[in-house]
């Protein structure tokens, strides 16, 4: 396997789409690239960039990438429904929304991602997955891996080791899939379990599955070995050299406009704001003094912002003026714990200085924030 710098590949001539002799004269049909970054946003931005800018008519592309711990939700999913956002924040696990459809996955360095770029016409997922299976079997013939008709790859006919998603544009398309080599299954299962109750939405739900790492089946397998095996098989099938070209997703001269794409993917409006409309109908159990209050809460959230909100408090528990002030401020706010914390603490400054009132307010607000 030879790794060469991207600049050697006359990348820019490919980019400008002028039919100058470039890569395809020496290695037509395909190109294999690997990201040097482990940042999920940067890597997703590379996918966007290739999808938008590269002409895939003459050569298809295989993109190999790995991320430091991150949860990646599908284009039309609801992060509150899919994962434990509180735990993600605590453990510093990033949350990203990709542009392709499908369900939620957990990435860490023990998981490899493979993206197959083709023209829209040549989009074909089964073929790609069969290529991956062939590569794995060539590596370890005794591995029992096969592709299901749901485009999953199963190990020992039981455990999911790969999930698939795809994005189709006007002229180009990509199919990407994960491959569990040696990911942290404990973190995976804990972050992918949503604690939020009472959510109702039409967002695409994920289908949970039992997973297993390839490493557990054969301890000699590592992410690097598996990546290389897939690249080798791709090279064979596309009749190209088994060269993997490294790219740096932060290189603006190589990939003009990439930093904007990265920023867009990190933006709250994309990650949370693109959540399809949903509603929450739940009950807060607030322990106050010697009793426990059951407080029904109903909220509608659209574009990640609170559109409507109703809190069923006992009468006069909070002065009515203050309650309506709270509800008025919540409407239009982001459904985000930080935003709401800042909001309620700021509002408290203009409240009458009453310890009882303050403790009630804090109790209610803390419980509300836990919903987010």
């Amino acid at each position: 396997m030879v790794l060469q710098s991207f600049k050697n590949c006359l990348w820019r001539s490919c980019v400008l789409r002028t039919p100058k002799a470039c890569f395809w004269s020496t290695a037509s049909g395909g190109l294999i690239i690997q990201s040097v970054s482990n940042d999920v946003y940067q890597n997703l931005a590379v996918e966007d960039w290739i999808h938008d800018h590269m002409d895939l008519e003459k050569q298809q592309i295989l993109f190999l990438w790995r991320n430091s711990p991150a949860v990646v939700i599908g284009r039309h999913q609801n992060p509150w429904q899919e994962c434990n956002l509180r735990l993600l924040r605590q453990k510093n696990v990033k949350l990203a929304r990709r542009r392709s459809g499908g369900g939620t996955v957990y990435h860490d360095l023990g998981n490899v991602n493979l993206t197959f770029f083709t023209t829209r016409k040549k989009y074909e997922r089964m073929g790609n997955l069969k290529l991956v299976v062939k590569a794995l079997k060539a590596l370890r013939p005794q591995l029992d891996v096969h592709v299901t008709d749901r485009y999953d790859i199963l190990l020992n006919k039981q455990y999911k080791i790969s999930g698939t998603a795809a994005k189709l544009g006007r002229t180009s398309a990509y199919h990407h899939c994960t491959l569990l080599c040696n990911a942290d299954k404990f973190v995976l299962s804990s972050v992918l379990k949503s604690p939020y109750k009472g959510l109702k939405s039409n967002a695409t739900p994920s289908v949970p599955a039992s997973v297993k790492n390839l490493f557990e089946e054969d301890a000699s397998l590592t992410s690097e070995i598996i990546l290389d095996a897939v690249a080798k098989e791709y090279a064979v099938q596309h009749q190209i050299d088994h060269h993997i070209t490294l790219i740096n997703p932060a290189d603006e001269t190589l990939l003009p406009g990439i930093s904007n794409k990265t920023k867009e993917l990190q933006n709250w409006e994309w990650v949370y704001g693109k959540t399809p409309k949903f509603s929450i109908s739940t009950c807060l159990n607030m322990a106050y003094k010697d009793s426990v209050l059951d407080v029904k809460v109903n909220m509608d959230v659209k574009h990640g912002r609170i559109e409507a909100c109703n809190i069923d408090l006992p009468e006069q528990w909070l002065p009515p003026g203050l309650y309506s002030e709270l509800v008025k401020s919540l409407i239009g706010s982001k459904f985000c714990p930080n935003e709401i914390t800042m909001l309620v603490t700021t509002l408290l400054k203009v409240c009458p200085q009453d310890n009882e009132l303050h403790s009630r307010w804090s109790l209610l607000c803390e419980n509300m924030i836990r919903l987010m």
Binding site: R120, L168, N338, I340, S362
Partner: protein, 476 residues
């Protein structure tokens, strides 16, 4: 369109003609030409049903997930119309036509069928026939350059929409490199060509943004001496500024700030400023910084400022008080919960260090570190952000010397610290020395605090900081 035609064609035959169809225009201009049209004639203003095209893999139905346009919007060819999903694949559907959206056949979450109409688009009458098919022309007899399609005997492939764009911008199609199939010239090729040639800002399309004039500098001579000798190159095209005002509703945290600041304004503020010589403190901090680092804590100047303020508040407790709404009672707060203003992405937040009166400088540094990392991660809790009694705002880290800080209700005082500058000052012997000077600007509630109190507090605070050893005497 008519005006362009007049300019471009030297023959002025058809100033007043109204062109409704491609056929009419072409018949008038290229009377001797032969044309091959593979399209069937489409009369204009017609509503075309844009059908959902094949997704591939034998898929027949998809779910509509997001509309990018609504009825009444105008679209250009290749603009995104909607996002649909089918079996883990998300597909962006783009428009085939230029026109106006007249009807959306589906709502969000509806199932849409391949081959059935997705949207109705009213084709723009001036844009002519559906650009789905190509118009291939054999070499014409007319001599207008921009309409002259022959390039050394080759035919140039381009859709009518692209040809029109080239014509409007006085571009010879022969000079444009086509990157589409069979070297067809695409809209993008015309735009790229334009950007490179004139280096000017392109005329705005309906959704245009301001194109930063980066490329323009390349056409202007770079050497300053050249500029001095000759006049700057005049811009050949009128600059089109297509920026628009943007309105956003005031929501959430911003709304709360509006309320708080409006309340703050009701407090009669008075200000008091002074200059502090931090030369000794700078030295002290340099000595203590490595010790703090060994303990895993970053030591800034703030812990010193905060502790000195608390020592001052012990002498002047009125500054750590709160006035009730009706101005009937003043509550002297026992705890010195000193707030530190922090600038985050969301805006100004003021977490506070609790009970400074019983904390050492090191304790304060530890707590500040904690609040700062939580603040930048956006994870501050409600208890960190409530209960403050006195605030310091270190605006000097960003810049500035004097400020006029606004008191945060229900507090009665606030201090803004400017940046530390190295300035010349006179010492006791009348010699000039290098002093580390910082300015402080206090604001206080004049209903309960008078100028003299503020001045005395400030002097005390100043003396602690100018001679840090004196803090030792009063530390509790």
């Amino acid at each position: 369109v008519c005006i362009h035609r007049v300019r471009s064609c030297s023959s002025v035959r058809f100033i007043k003609s109204k062109y409704v169809c491609v056929f009419d225009k072409s018949a008038l201009k290229f009377s001797h030409q032969q044309r091959l049209f593979r399209t069937s004639p489409v009369s204009c203003g017609q509503i075309v049903q844009f059908k959902l095209s094949d997704i591939g893999e034998g898929i027949t139905e998809v779910t509509v997930k997001e509309w990018y346009i609504k009825e009444g919007d105008s679209v250009s060819q290749f603009d995104s119309i909607c996002e649909v999903q089918s079996d883990k694949a998300s597909v962006t559907i783009t428009s085939r036509y230029d026109g106006i959206i007249r009807k959306l056949h589906y709502s969000i979450d509806d199932i849409a069928f391949v081959g059935k109409p997705l949207v109705d688009i009213e084709i723009d009458p001036s844009k002519g026939v559906s650009p789905e098919e190509d118009v291939v022309e054999t070499p014409p007899m007319s001599h207008e350059e921009h309409t002259h399609q022959e390039i050394k005997g080759h035919k140039t492939l381009a859709t009518p929409a692209v040809r029109r764009l080239a014509m409007e911008n006085n571009i010879k199609l022969s000079e444009v490199v086509g990157t589409g199939k069979d070297n067809r010239i695409l809209k993008e090729d015309i735009l790229n060509y334009l950007a490179k040639q004139t280096g000017a800002i392109l005329p705005p399309s309906p959704k245009a943004e301001i194109v930063p004039p980066v490329r323009r500098t390349e056409t202007v001579p770079a050497a300053p001496k050249d500029r001095a000798r000759r006049a700057p190159v005049p811009v050949s095209r009128p600059i089109a500024f297509s920026g628009k005002d943007r309105s956003e509703p005031v929501t959430g945290f911003q709304k709360a700030m509006v309320k708080t600041m409006s309340a703050a304004l009701k407090i009669p503020h008075f200000g008091y400023s002074d200059e502090i010589d931090l030369t000794q403190l700078v030295q002290l901090r340099e000595e203590l910084k490595p010790l703090a680092e060994i303990r895993g804590v970053k030591l800034s100047f703030m812990p010193f400022f905060i502790k000195a303020a608390s020592l001052g508040l012990l002498q002047y407790p009125i500054l750590n008080a709160s006035l009730d709404e009706n101005c009937q009672n003043v509550t002297y707060k026992a705890s010195h919960n000193i707030g530190v203003a922090m600038d985050t992405e969301q805006g100004l937040i003021v977490p506070n260090v609790k009970n400074v009166q019983v904390c050492s400088v090191f304790d304060i540094a530890v707590e500040l570190n904690r609040l700062q990392s939580l603040g930048s991660a956006g994870q501050l809790g409600t208890s960190d952000l409530t209960g403050g009694t006195f605030t310091l705002s270190n605006i000097g880290t960003i810049g500035g010397t004097y400020a006029k800080p606004v008191i945060l209700p229900p507090e009665v005082a606030i201090g803004a610290l400017g940046k530390i500058q190295v300035l010349p000052r006179f010492n006791g012997k009348g010699e000039v020395f290098k002093a580390q000077i910082m300015n402080v600007s206090w604001s206080a509630d004049h209903r309960v605090i008078d100028g003299a109190t503020m001045a005395r507090f400030s002097n005390l605070w100043k003396s602690y900081l100018e001679n840090p050893a004196t803090m030792l005497l009063d530390l509790k």
